[in-house]
């Protein structure tokens, strides 16, 4: 073995070993474990094949979790993209206000998800919560025992907290996308009479394709990774109404000691995440064939 090879192996192996052992290996094991029934830490595992996976087809809680996950993805995703694109446009005009907003907009992203969850739990507190009292004051018909204990309201509260947490990053992302668009293209469009909404729809929006694609992948990953927020705000209640995959997995694995079933939830959501990512990538992330030509219309 020459010195170059020895050097490569020496430098690479610590990272590859740690990564392979603690990331790659457990990922493969997830699939294997999902085919057994076993409780807690015992090694007494019984092979049940795909039963863990198929039994979720009849599990109403799993349906709720899936619905909530889709709700977060579609409603949350739409809200995030809509707000982020508008805010990114507004931030292009320099002023004192934009400076302040740019400084604080990532605060919800850099504090712990646990803190976000606690803050939002407090904001809805029926006796001192800022949002709850404020909402009451302007006449929103909020349930009087607080929002987080009532099914529909609790889901809405989690959706809002999710968007609040994530938005700043996407404003930054779309801002970078907007700045990357060639000013000449926009000017040319202006001269040709395309301005305002039309210019946005026909030129800016298609040209943001690469940023949109990244945004969608991140949103899918954010949504599938939702755990601490729900855990802190509602503990997946009331009555499993705000359950998501990871909270359900945690509940199955650690509260009910059903490790096999919990692994099956993990496999299930892994597959869903991959499928969603692939589908949305295909639908949204299209590169307009020739951006120059569409700009000249």
């Amino acid at each position: 073995m020459n010195t170059r090879t020895r050097f490569i192996i020496g430098f690479l192996s610590p990272a590859v070993l740690i990564y392979g052992l603690l990331v790659g290996f457990p990922l493969l094991q997830s699939f294997y474990y999902s085919m057994f029934r076993w409780k807690g830490m015992s090694l007494n595992m019984k092979f049940v094949g795909a039963k863990n996976l198929t039994q979720f087809a009849q599990d109403p809680v799993m349906h709720t979790a899936g619905t909530n996950q889709i709700l977060l993805l579609v409603c949350g995703g739409l809200m995030i993209v809509m707000f982020a694109v508008s805010l990114a446009h507004a931030l292009l005009v320099p002023s004192k206000l934009t400076k302040v907003v740019q400084a604080v907009m990532l605060f919800p992203q850099v504090v712990s998800m646990v803190v976000v969850g606690i803050i939002w739990q407090f904001l809805w507190h029926p006796s001192y919560g800022l949002l709850f009292l404020g909402g009451k004051a302007v006449g929103v018909p909020l349930p009087k025992d607080g929002v987080l204990g009532v099914e529909k309201w609790a889901s809405l509260a989690i959706l809002l907290a999710f968007v609040w947490h994530a938005l700043g990053f996407y404003v930054m992302l779309f801002g970078a996308g907007l700045r990357n668009i060639d000013g000449e293209v926009l000017e040319a469009a202006e001269i040709d009479g395309a301005s305002g909404w039309r210019r946005f729809r026909e030129i800016t929006w298609p040209l943001l394709w690469s940023v949109k694609r990244v945004a969608v992948i991140y949103i899918v990953s954010n949504v599938m990774g939702t755990f601490a927020l729900v855990q802190m705000m509602t503990k997946a209640g009331p009555d499993n109404a705000t359950q998501v995959f990871l909270t359900y997995m945690y509940q199955k694995g650690w509260d009910e000691s059903q490790m096999g079933q919990a692994s099956a939830i993990a496999v299930y959501s892994f597959i869903v995440a991959m499928l969603l990512g692939a589908v949305v990538w295909r639908v949204i992330g299209k590169n307009p064939e020739n951006p120059r030509r569409s700009a000249a219309i």
Partner: protein
């Protein structure tokens, strides 16, 4: 008109972010009664004692120390390991180096909590459950993807001539890395370290499962427990103070390194 709407939108956005944080900060100086009686008001006498209660009675103090150990401990292993791997993968391409780089990237997107069950069993079998080194190793593993990804970008930009020149000066492969290339990548390494530090400081799910023991709990786990217990014991002021202790350090670090952090976040997103 559009300008006006834009301004209004920004104003609402800014307020929606600043007000909740300010509210938590102000509440942390109030007595429990004040929090309930005048949720919107300012504290009459700032209750610094809340912070002492949170720090000592609520175990936030020891959680804080644990969080510092976990964060710095992880960085101490992560940065050299990640930098060495990133460097070799871009500057010494070999058959399969692309594949290795790509499998690091693959770990970038999936939520790591998905593999918690096999990971938990593995850590338990290694006898590392509820140990600092156990959580640190897991943190290193799950931070490697991002670290290798960003650092490989930095090393790629450094010219190969520098390596060749260092060989002429008599450096070995590893000497040319540690003496020439690594120091040149320092700005990048610093940003990656800060970025990782924020994420590690905030991490909750893995710490919840792998470090449940009171003596090694980190801040997010501690504050989550405090929230659940404090609601019964009722020291609301201390609870708000605890939240401030968790969030203030990252907010300050973020404000100091804002531009570099934003650039790194975008680099990670836009290159992918």
């Amino acid at each position: 008109m559009t300008k006006f709407i834009g301004k209004l939108l920004l104003l609402v956005f800014g307020i929606s972010i600043v007000v909740p944080f300010l509210w938590v900060l102000v509440s942390s100086f109030k007595t429990g009664n004040e929090i309930f009686a005048s949720p919107w008001g300012m504290p009459k006498n700032p209750q610094f004692v809340n912070f002492r209660h949170a720090w000592f009675d609520g175990e936030i103090g020891s959680n804080f120390v644990n969080s510092i150990i976990m964060t710095l401990g992880t960085l101490a292993i992560l940065i050299p390991t990640g930098a060495m791997a990133a460097y070799v993968l871009v500057k010494y391409p070999f058959k399969g180096s692309k594949l290795i780089l790509n499998s690091f990237m693959g770990g970038l997107m999936f939520p790591n909590f998905l593999v918690i069950i096999p990971l938990y069993l593995l850590i338990a079998r290694l006898g590392l459950l509820n140990t600092k080194i156990g959580l640190i190793l897991v943190y290193v593993a799950y931070s490697l993807a991002f670290t290798v990804f960003v650092l490989s970008g930095f090393f790629e930009q450094l010219p190969n001539e520098l390596i060749e020149a260092s060989f002429l000066d008599g450096c070995s492969h590893s000497e040319s890395f540690w003496k020439v290339m690594f120091p040149l990548a320092k700005p990048g390494v610093l940003v990656v370290a800060i970025f990782n530090a924020i994420g590690l400081w905030n991490e909750y799910p893995l710490a919840l499962v792998l470090a449940q023991d009171k003596s090694i709990q980190t801040l997010p786990v501690g504050i989550a427990n405090l929230t659940m217990t404090q609601q019964y014991s009722g020291d609301w002021g201390a609870l708000f103070a605890g939240i401030v202790i968790v969030m203030l350090p990252v907010m300050i670090v973020y404000l100091i390194f804002r531009e570099q952090i934003q650039k790194t976040m975008l680099a990670g997103a836009l290159k992918g």
